[in-house]
Each structure stands twice: as C-alpha cells, then as structure tokens.
Amino acid sequence: MNRRKFLTTTAAATAALALPAHAQARSTLNIFCWSEYIPQSVIDGFSKANRVRVNVENYASNEEMLAKLAAGTARYDLIQPSEYVVEELVKDGRLEEIDMANIPNLKNLDPKYTKLSYDPENKYSVTWMAGNVGIIVNRSKIKDEIKGYSGVFQDKFKKRIVVLDDSRELVAWALASLGLDINDITPENLEKAKGVLEKWLPLVKLFDSDSPKTALLNGDVDLGLVWNGEAAKVLEESKASKRRNMEFEYILPAEGAHMFIDSLAIPKGARNKANAEKFINYVLEPKVSVAIWEEFPYTLVNAEGKKLLKPEQLANPASFPPGDPKLDLFKMISPDRAAAIDKLVTDLKNV
C-alpha cells in the first residue's frame, strides 16, 4: 500500500465513521431475515458475485421483526415478512416500491405466487417461499391416530409437545379447532380461544420457533406443531440417522392449517435499494432457489427451480403436501387485536 492509497483509505475510513450513510451506500446489504431461512452459501455466493458485503440479522417471528423495525434504531435493506405483515406494511406506507425492471428473474416464479391478495400489483414484495404449519409425530413412540389439533393436545402427551413460539399461530390453531375462521379475531372468538389454550398450553414442553427440529431429533419431545420446512428436515434427517426411535410422520391438521407466504421486501428508507434488488434477482435464479430449498425444504415457489428437483425430493410430504388440504393465509389484523392476542398468550403462558 503506497502512501497515497493509505491516505485515501484512512480518509474513507474516517468518512465511514462520520457519515456511515454515504460510505455504506455503495457496497453493503443489510438483510433482516427469519432464522434458518437463507443459507449461508447463498449469501456468500451473492456476496462474491456482486462484491457486496452482506450483513445478516435474524428474527424468530414477524412481530419481533416489526418491533425492531418500529424501533428504528437499525436500518435494513431487505426484510422477509409474511403475507399479513406485507399487507400491514404496505398499508402503512412502510415499504419501498421494488423496481421490477431490475428483477428479470421474476418470470421464474410460479404465477400462483405472484400478484397475491396482499400485493395485487406485485409492487412491494417478491415471494421467497411458501409453507404451512402442521403436525409432526414420532411414530416409533406414538401409535395413536392423530388427525388434527385436538389429537396433539391430549393429556397423555403432557410435556412431550413442542409448538411454535408464536402467539398468532397459537390463537389460529385454537380457532381452527373450534371450527372458526382463523382470521376472525373478535373479542368473543378470543374468549373462546382462551378456553382452548388454557387447556393446551400447560401440556407444552417447549416453545421454539427457531429450530424445533432439534428437540424432536434429540428425543426431548415426541410430537408437535412446527413449520413444514422444519418437519421436512426432520423426515430427511431421521431417515438418514441410524439411531432407533426415529420414524416421523407429517400430518396437516384436518381442521385446516395455516399456510404462509413469505416475501422479500424493501423497507422505506433503505440505503442500499439497488443491492437489495440485485439480491432478490439472484435468489430467483433456478439453481439458487434449489440450493435454498435443499437447505430449508419449505414449499418451493420457483417453477423453473422445481423442474430441477429429483422425484424423491418432490415426494417429501412436508415440503409438497399431497392432495388438496384446507390451507388458509393470515390476514392483517388491527393493532388492537394484535395486542389482544399478545396479551392473551402472554397471560396464559405465564400461569
């Protein structure tokens, strides 16, 4: 390094300290995403191909992401909200419009997952992956027939159950088990859901949204309600494992399951919008989408990528549920109702 270069570098470093906004604008991308959702290999691949430094921060629930976003202390360029959260963010004007001209790979997406109800003109979000929440059972330990939520939450399975640590999910399951619409969050329905959850929650051994598969594979719990990608991973790893007592089954609740569609979106005020768009385009490449799917086997939404999958991969019942199950998306709810859900679950969990 010659003296001149040294000086400019030092100057740049000083400027970066003083004015991070200007210095960072060129070469970084700050991603705020779900834990266990974007493989490190994909981030490294993008980083190398585009000479962009990628910073990743994780969250374990949409609400946690919203809390950090609302705090406004950290600036993110790319977030990964689920359907109802996109709806809320769009309505509040908190997302940047994505310039779809920069995303030619959009054509690879299965048209089923574009122009969805929460973003009908496909201006603010690009679908990342879809999935659902279903029942995973260790068949070598539990032989009972389990069809739905009420089959999971039985006294005989006390302290053998893992569930997602997500208030909205818990309430949705309770509503579905009562035959109610999972999006109909009225005070009366919440009162009914409370009655159900009061009986369910004491049976739970572990609340975990990050990685419920660990406890399942370690044998600490025998059944539970988890993301389908986690379940697919459990099915895959248990088959490969030589340990005994490792035979799992994935069941979609008969009462109706929650289907989620997670998107990539750019929050208002993002400093590296161009990089965010580059990243979106990168992950839509068929090969990249398959690399993501192989690590996190949710439901692949990339039609071109799906063509690359092997038949046995397409046969994983957790990733691609067979038949035509009843699946419902979450809809945006008012902040008062969101608060009511949080209060209900917090109070019940702490009994």
Partner: protein
Amino acid sequence: MQAALATSTSSRGPRRQPTWMGWLLMVPMLLWLLAFVVVPTAILAVYSFGKRGRATPVEFAFTWDNYFRVFDGTELLPLLRCVLHAAGITLVAILIDWFRAPSRLRHERVASARRVGIAVFIAALLWIVWSNLSEVFTGTYVRIFVRSIFYAGFTTLMCVIVGYPVAYFIGRARESHRNLLLMLVMIPFWTSFLIRTYAWITILNESGLLNGFLLYASVISEPFSMLYTPGAVVIGLVYSYLPFMILPIYGSVEKLDNSLVEAAFDLGAGPVRAFQTVILPLTQPGVIAGVLLVFIPSIGMFAITDLMGGKTVPMIGNVIQNQFGPARDWPFGAALGMTLLLIFAIAFWFSTRKQDGHSVMG
C-alpha cells in the same frame, strides 16, 4: 457483619469532606452513571406511562394502565390467610421453645423465643407460599415476580452451598496452587456464555451425554426428561453464576487471619463452633457480596430460562424481554421493569435501615 462494618468505618477516623480533586476523580463515574443508569431509567419511567404504539413502539400518554396490568387479578385475602397460617405455626413453635428448658433465665428465654419465632415464621411463610403459589398469588405477573424471586433465591442458596467450600479450599490452599485453582474457576469465562449454555443442552437432552452415560451404566432403563424443566433452569443458573459467588468469598477467606482460627481452637472450640463464631462472621462480607452478585442478575436472566427451560418456566426477565420483542408492548415491559426496580430499591432501603439500627445498637 454489621458490627464489622461499624468498626471498619469508625477505624477510618472522622469523615472528611471530599476536595475538588476528589470530585474531579469522580467525574467519569458520575458521567457513566448518568448515561447508563439515570437516563435509561428515566426513559423507562416515561415509557411505562405510555401506550402501545403502532408504527412507533410507544405512544406518549399518561396512563396507569400498565401498572394496573402488572397487579391485575391480585387478591390480598389469600396472602393474608397465608400469613395467618404461618403465624399460627410460629406460635406453636414459640410455645414449644418457651417450655423446652425451664431452668433458663427469663431474658434467655425471650431471646431464644424471638430467634425461633423469626426463623420459623420465615420458613413457614416461604414453604406455604411456594407450595400454593398459584392460589396465593392470583395475579399472573405478581406470581411471576414471586416465582422469579424464589428461583433466584434458590439459585443463590445453591451457589453458597457449593461455592463456600470451594472458595474456602482455594483460599486456604498453598499459595503456589491458589492461582491455578482460581484459573480453573475463571476458565469458563473464556468461552461465550451462550456456547456454554448450548453445551448444557447437549449434556441434558434425552439422547445426550448424561442420559447416554446413565443408560450405559444401567442406572436407568429409559432416558429421563431433564432438559426443559425447572430443574434444568436452576442447573443453568447455578452453573453460570457460581464464579460470582466463589470469587468474593475467596477474597474474604484469603484475608482471614489464621491466628484467630487457632485462637478459637486453643480456647476449646470444636470445628463447628470455630466455624460458626469465628470463620463465618469474618467471611460474611464475601458471602453477602456474592449473594448480591448472584441474586440480582439471576432474577432478570432470560437466556437460560429460554434455552434450558423451553420458555415454559417464565421468569420476570423473559416476560420483560418478550414485551420489548415479539409482543411489541414497550410500555408494559417498562412498567414491569420499573416495578422490579422498585422492589429492589425497597429491599435495599429496608436492609440498610436495619443495618443502621444494628450499628447504632452496637
């Protein structure tokens, strides 16, 4: 301890007013306190009267609702019943003690009855409260406060029981060995606290090291559940905070004058008597420092209860963290935090007041 404190302060001679140099030396600490204690506490206090916001975390308002929610559902009657119950047991204990050895002098009897009364009352109250926690404390969050205090108290007790002998041994070891032993206590700090907690998960889970060993040794025939139970939380807490108990006690033990212990033996005291009347009082400052260092952080701990308790054994730290995180209710979280702060402040004020009273008497 109070007597020791009193003598140590009086031995320093008359109190002098600090000079401007003294104040100057204090400036960094005062600034630190201002920036990291006073200002955040003030912000917390303001938040705690606000309302849950939508796009911003807090909507500023003045409402007591958050505090009402902290104490929501609290009934005093069950608590009163519980106190009366404990008082009844205490009365019986005092009567038994009173007629135990009639040859004693009156003031001996009174002193003994007082001692027994206080001890029995506290023990009975704790036992009754703990075994009927959900009936005594009907309010969800008050119950969590009480439960957290119990868990933290139990953790502290375990730390004293395990840590005191270790600290005593290290403190009395040969000087050449002492540093090595101290190093062994400190080594875990070289690794991240989270990694150490995950290590416990691999030890305690049902296909983990401990179950594997017990199965192999045929002690058990089926793996037993240890992870994600209250027991696991206490193990995690004791493990994490044990060094904070050992180090201050070690400090006191190291300073312990051996000639005093020898004098006790020369005067005919047995090991128990020597420990009780000489060693323990002289090392008490270390124990008290250790108790504070363990008790206060373990009340607010949330990472261990999340990771090792499976989020099913909530302590107040978890609830507060959840309010600032997924539940997005900062004002309520702030109200819980302020309540915790208030409890500490009252407890501290109470304990110093009691100490003052004693030192005046001494």
